[in-house]
């Protein structure tokens, strides 16, 4: 990636539904509600939109979203694969489209009933039609859930660097503390302690306890992207897209990349990190706050290392409650993250980062200069650096 895209596009609108365990409505309706809310927030009309981007996993077709919103025509639409790894990738696609003039206004959306509908951890009950080929190397041995796939990888990291499950507790505590003061969060007013974390039951022993695993949520979120020039005339302070990148590493699988020489890192995030720093000209010390994808806590520690916030094997000492809370050296997941606010496949980390840029977050970090956002880990992934306009 070159620096060509730097600050040429901006996120100008954000929208979301409530986050729940049973939305009581279709995924398509959630998507439409989120897109409409994001356009209203931006002060734009459906007729201004000519591009849509979503996840390959999303069930709401672009043309159905357009039909519901009354978007008259679309000149650009694309989808990003690999589950939650897609989140920031949708913004990259949208930014490329508006910066090149292929589209004027692009909306990125993600909506699902991941708790009341199909649950990602429920692989075992839906295999009547036969195992997907890749899963045939894992499911017969009892590795049937994202938690189990991640744990077998993270165990090697723990072994190599002397990391224990207690080290992961700091991530859960920070997220739940931030969620406790965010009325949108499912775990609003319900903080936890390290003792609560250590008392929670094993999901995959000795790596993941219940409080190391993100929640499951119903809901939708959407982002409106246009050029930085047009953004200046819109309702809110734009969140400039200083850098956006996708990344896949060599010899990888969707969540079971067990065959690489070394299992102590997240090479996909390394590919993303290298591009983000190069394209932005920034360093980790320039980042005021970050949203680090937290579907499972061990991969937050490994991300801190891949992104260069600390050295290899040092995250167990860096990732303290003090360092990662507001007032610390790198406040993370100020909305409560996927553990505390909602599991919206990372899109709620981007909406929160835009609020931080605007200065409207419930847990506002003072003097935000640059925000780093990452997408799902253990899979091909993506990342963003957002900045306020000058």
């Amino acid at each position: 990636m070159t620096a060509w895209l730097k600050d040429r596009a901006a996120i100008v609108g954000i929208g979301q539904t409530e986050f729940s365990k049973a939305s009581g409505r279709t995924e398509l309706q959630l998507a439409c509600e989120a897109v409409k809310a994001a356009l209203d927030d931006a002060g734009l009309r459906p007729s201004d939109v000519d591009g849509l981007v979503t996840f390959t996993m999303d069930t709401s077709d672009e043309i159905e979203v357009a039909r519901n919103l009354g978007i008259p025509h679309l000149s650009m639409f694309s989808r990003v694969p690999y589950g939650g790894g897609a989140a920031a990738g949708t913004v990259l696609h949208a930014a490329m489209a508006v910066a090149t003039g292929v589209a004027d206004v692009v909306v990125c959306y993600r909506a699902f009933n991941e708790r009341s509908g199909f649950r990602f951890g429920d692989t075992g009950s839906v295999l009547g039609g036969g195992l997907p080929l890749w899963l045939s190397w894992y499911a017969p041995y009892g590795l049937l859930t994202p938690a189990s796939w991640v744990a077998l990888h993270a165990r090697r990291y723990m072994h190599t660097y002397g990391v224990t499950n207690e080290h992961f507790g700091a991530i859960a505590v920070v997220d739940r503390h931030h969620a406790a003061t965010n009325p949108d969060a499912w775990f609003y007013q319900r903080p936890i302690t390290l003792a609560d974390h250590q008392a929670s039951r094993w999901i995959v022993e000795p790596v993941l306890r219940l409080l190391d695993c993100c929640q499951e949520s119903d809901g939708g979120a959407a982002l409106v992207i246009t050029t930085a020039d047009r953004a200046r005339d819109l309702a809110h302070r734009p969140a400039l897209i200083t850098a956006a990148a996708q990344g896949a590493g060599g010899d990888g699988e969707m969540m079971t990349s067990y065959y690489r020489d070394d299992l102590t890192g997240l090479p996909e995030m390394g590919v993303v990190a290298q591009q983000l720093w190069k394209a932005s000209g920034l360093r980790p010390s320039h980042i005021t706050t970050a949203f680090l994808y937290d579907h499972f806590t061990p991969f937050v520690l490994m991300q801190l290392e891949e992104l260069g916030f600390c050295g290899r094997g040092e995250a167990k000492d860096f990732a303290t409650v003090e360092n990662l809370s507001i007032g610390g050296v790198l406040p993370i997941n100020t909305n409560g993250g996927l553990l505390g606010e909602a599991y919206l496949h990372g899109m709620n980390g981007i909406t929160e980062s835009v609020r931080q840029i605007r200065g409207t977050a419930c847990n506002q970090v003072p003097d935000v200069e640059h925000i780093l956002v990452t997408a799902g880990t253990g899979v091909p992934t993506s990342g963003l650096i957002l900045s306020p306009s000058a």
């Binding site: 951890g121 429920d122 075992g124 295999l127 036969g130 195992l131 997907p132 080929l133 890749w134 899963l135 045939s136 190397w137 894992y138 499911a139 017969p140 041995y141 009892g142 590795l143 049937l144 859930t145 938690a147 189990s148 744990a151 077998l152 990888h153 165990r155 090697r156 072994h159 039951r201 094993w202 999901i203 995959v204 022993e205 000795p206 790596v207 219940l210 010899d251 079971t256 067990y258 065959y259 299992l263």
Partner: protein, 133 residues
């Protein structure tokens, strides 16, 4: 005890046919002799499409292991051990560890393959602590 039956493709069927015969097979590239697993059509080192099955010793060491506790699936002891084995040939594969208690397993422990038949005639490679040689 039941286990979920693996799916196969023309790229992977040889592995399961080998397991049914008590042999742990991987691919050996016809172009550069590199071994690979899981099976796939092309050699990433030399891009050859030619390969033949290569029988491993079935011995290796524990590279990583975990005990999935929740959700519970029928056909598995609680706890059961999912293991990532690094074979002597340098390849890794996922399996289960048997004939050992979780507290006695260590990363780096020598292990050897054996074969278990589950309900419906499903045969899977399993590993256990290696007999002293």
């Amino acid at each position: 005890m039941s286990r979920i039956e693996p799916s196969m493709s023309p790229d992977t069927a040889f592995f399961w046919e080998g397991v049914a015969q008590g042999r742990l097979l991987v691919q050996r590239c016809g172009g550069c002799d590199a071994l690979r697993h899981p099976p796939r059509p092309m050699c990433p080192a030399c891009n050859s499409l030619a390969w033949d099955p290569y029988e491993t010793t079935g011995r290796g060491q524990v590279y990583s292991f975990v005990m999935p506790r929740h959700p519970r699936y029928p056909g598995f002891d609680d706890p059961h051990i999912a293991v990532l084995v690094e074979l002597e040939e340098g390849l890794r594969l996922v399996s289960n560890l048997g004939e050992v208690e979780p507290e006695d397993v260590t990363i780096g422990m020598p292990v050897e393959v054996f074969y278990a038949t589950f309900e419906g005639g499903i045969v899977l490679p399993q590993f256990r602590p290696a007999a002293p040689t």
